[in-house]
Assembly symmetry: C2
Homo-oligomer: 440 residues x 2
């Protein structure tokens, strides 16, 4: 145990037992929420490294498995992590403290949960709640700031943006998205070279399915691989554009006629004119099980049946959102910066806010951190605007390219070991001793 | 036009019109065959760069779209490529001259094709035929060497190994496989961190489908991500091991119980006890089309139905065999070395042979180029031996790890542009003027 007093504040304690003892600056509680990204741990790195330098702040506790860890009082003590371990967060994908899919409802409907949060905050001397997630998380953080006031235990609530879907309003871009964008652009560029090589005698159509159930940002990123008009991928299918089977088949046919092959990026969220997901096509397998998801095989079967072309298809699924090995350097820097800014906002006494990315110029690409009110971010979904989708609905426009291009700039490779594998952080977490009764 | 005489031999001409004029050393005809790899162009780079230094050899002509380009007399003149373009082959995926799926039958059955090949060789002063492919290509190269003798136009035929499936005998490893192995090992390591992060409240099982219809080498490579026993991926399904549904479900259940999540690598070639591919399960989609391939969704549906776990699945398909961005450095070096060795073999007067990789030691990893007779390579498939698959059939053994580990060592990143994308070679090929009548 080593307490250092500086400027009248105690800095972080060095053992778990000290958390919440009231002798040091108030602690930060950091929680990850929803689907993870290749760079969400870079944000955690920004939070922890900055907090360690900030005298007015105590420990950083990390909720195990997101908000569930707060409710269950499973709090990870990050103060026992070495500097090297914290630094390794910057290049480790997944969510190293765990995340969850669990949405708190309104204060009226979920009052017991909100009260439990405050109880846990009190027990562990939490002065700052950092919720690292998308729109739902911004909403929750906003409500937590309100309930703390009501219950007489004010906590500074800071949202930190994260979502591969890039569907948060206000911020120019969501940390996580640029790395997925880079992965998809590089992958479809590479696979297109493959199918092009073989097309004269074999596969003529390649289809890559990407994430983005409601917003087509990731699909749009595939369009970056087509540096010039007509290059692969020649077709992109967006969730924003209702699927027109006949127009699509005509386009595939004309591209194969022109180029000898056709490369397609399809969003998992593509729907027909009636609003039904193409992936929910009632497929049953031989065991009689309803088949789970996958719009790429549906598109492939359609092309094969209607046009007769041999198709190959890939579904990138979790590969795309964990591919830290091909992360965007811009993304890693922005993910770190929003974590750092959250601590600075906290130290400056702010609450109910989120650090966001503000774009200053496209080329040269310049950006800075700005401050947004959580209330403005909650439950608003930013989809790909009409001006970013070409008139025929099958590609991106130059405006879209101007927006996306800077985001995938630069590489930020993880270190590799002698065994040829990335050296991602593997750490046994130390859970802070519990002080409260079980929750439910 | 610039002819340089050295040691009594004319070196390569500098214009297309000279090919086959008999004034220079005989030309090499280089053809790619079958599915491409992330590094097959590195082999082409080794061939062209070495031939340019070799006084006894004329031009390198490359067949457009593999052997079809020879039959159709579509030959690409590589002598007009700049040194920088040739060097860029080393880091460009796909098959830059095109490849094909077209197998020549026996000499008796396909005599006309063989005779056409010789006719094209004669017309373009071809003294060396390099066929870069798998077992079938070795067989074809072997037959071409026989027919040349019979027809009084002897051509030195050299096979060059290539196949992501790693199923060629004699050679310790096939160029192409180590990069796919690295991609799969890194990808499943990353995706496993993702599913682990979310498992307490969401997806519990992740399934990655990989290539290898008859040989499970690529699936085995996924096992490298499990550096210690019990780590993810916890289950690997090989085509060499008949699928036992009950044993598999019990294993998934016990892994989820133990670790909270389960990560699975499944080969596209997994079959049931009756020898039927699991992917051929008679799936029909809502349009009534037979669904094309995909064993991962079949496994996911099975787990969901029988165990109730939420599953995610990915199919890497062409992504895995074009992912030059995460190539193995060992692979790039070996792919180049076999191309270089082919030219050296040719210059030394050899025929009916293939340069192969011979392993000298595992750790430190040492290898050299050896010479194999084409007849020994043809039509023999090397599958994963029993000693490389754990007794329960669900993972790799230490012996397998010792074999695989060195192959994925080292990174060999392509250069990236200011736009954040790899700078892969894009070149308009120059076709040598035709001298013969159309073929068929």
């Amino acid at each position: 145990m080593a307490l250092i007093l500086k400027d009248g504040y105690a800095t972080r304690s060095t053992t778990a037992s000290q958390t919440g003892n009231g002798m040091s600056g108030k602690n930060i509680l950091y929680a990850q929420s929803g689907g993870v990204t290749p760079v969400i741990n870079a944000t955690a790195c920004g939070v922890i490294e900055t907090a360690r330098e900030e005298d007015r702040i105590g420990n950083v506790l990390a909720a195990k498995d997101g908000i569930l860890g707060v409710l269950n009082e499973e709090l990870i003590d990050t103060s026992v992590m070495t500097s090297a371990q914290v630094a390794a967060l910057r290049h480790t994908p997944g969510g190293v403290f765990g995340s969850c899919r669990f949405k708190l409802k309104s204060i009226a409907d979920s009052r017991a949960e909100y009260e439990r949060l405050i109880e846990v905050f009190k027990a562990h001397n939490i002065g700052y709640f950092f919720y690292n997630g998308g729109g739902d998380s911004a909403d929750t953080a906003y409500k937590v700031s309100q309930i703390g006031e009501q219950l007489g235990f004010p906590v500074q609530c800071i949202g930190i943006p994260k979502t591969i879907d890039n569907d948060l309003p206000v911020t120019d871009v969501c940390p996580g998205f640029p790395s997925v964008a880079k992965y998809i652009a590089v992958s479809i560029m590479e696979a297109s070279l493959d199918v092009k090589s073989m097309a004269s005698s074999s596969t003529k159509v390649f289809i890559l399915e990407v994430m983005g159930r409601h917003a087509g940002w990731i699909a749009a990123a595939g369009g970056l691989a087509a540096r010039h008009s007509g290059e692969a991928p020649q077709i992109i299918l967006f969730p924003e554009t209702p699927f027109d089977q006949q127009a699509f088949l005509r386009r595939v046919d004309s591209v194969v006629e022109r180029d000898g092959y056709c490369s397609i990026v399809v969003s998992e969220g593509v729907r027909d004119a009636a609003g039904k997901f193409l992936s929910d096509s009632g497929v049953k397998d031989a065991f009689g099980h309803a088949q789970l998801g996958g719009v790429a095989p549906v598109i492939a079967s359609l092309i094969k049946a209607e046009l007769g072309h041999k198709c190959h298809w890939a579904v990138s699924d979790y590969l795309q959102r964990s591919a830290r090995h091909i992360a965007s350097r811009v993304d890693v820097e922005q993910a770190y910066a929003v974590g750092k800014a959250a601590v600075e906002f906290a130290a400056a006494g702010k609450t109910g806010v989120m650090p966001v990315i503000e774009r200053l110029s496209d080329d040269p690409y310049q950006w800075q951190i700005a401050e947004a009110e959580l209330g403005r971010l909650a439950n608003v979904e930013k989809t790909v605007p009409e001006s970013f989708i070409s008139e025929d609905g099958f590609h991106i426009t130059d405006d879209c390219r101007r927006y996306l291009q800077p985001l995938i700039k630069g590489e930020a490779y993880p270190p590799y070991g002698e065994d040829g594998l990335p050296q991602y952080l593997a750490v046994e977490h130390e859970i802070v001793p519990r002080k409260l009764a079980d929750w439910r």
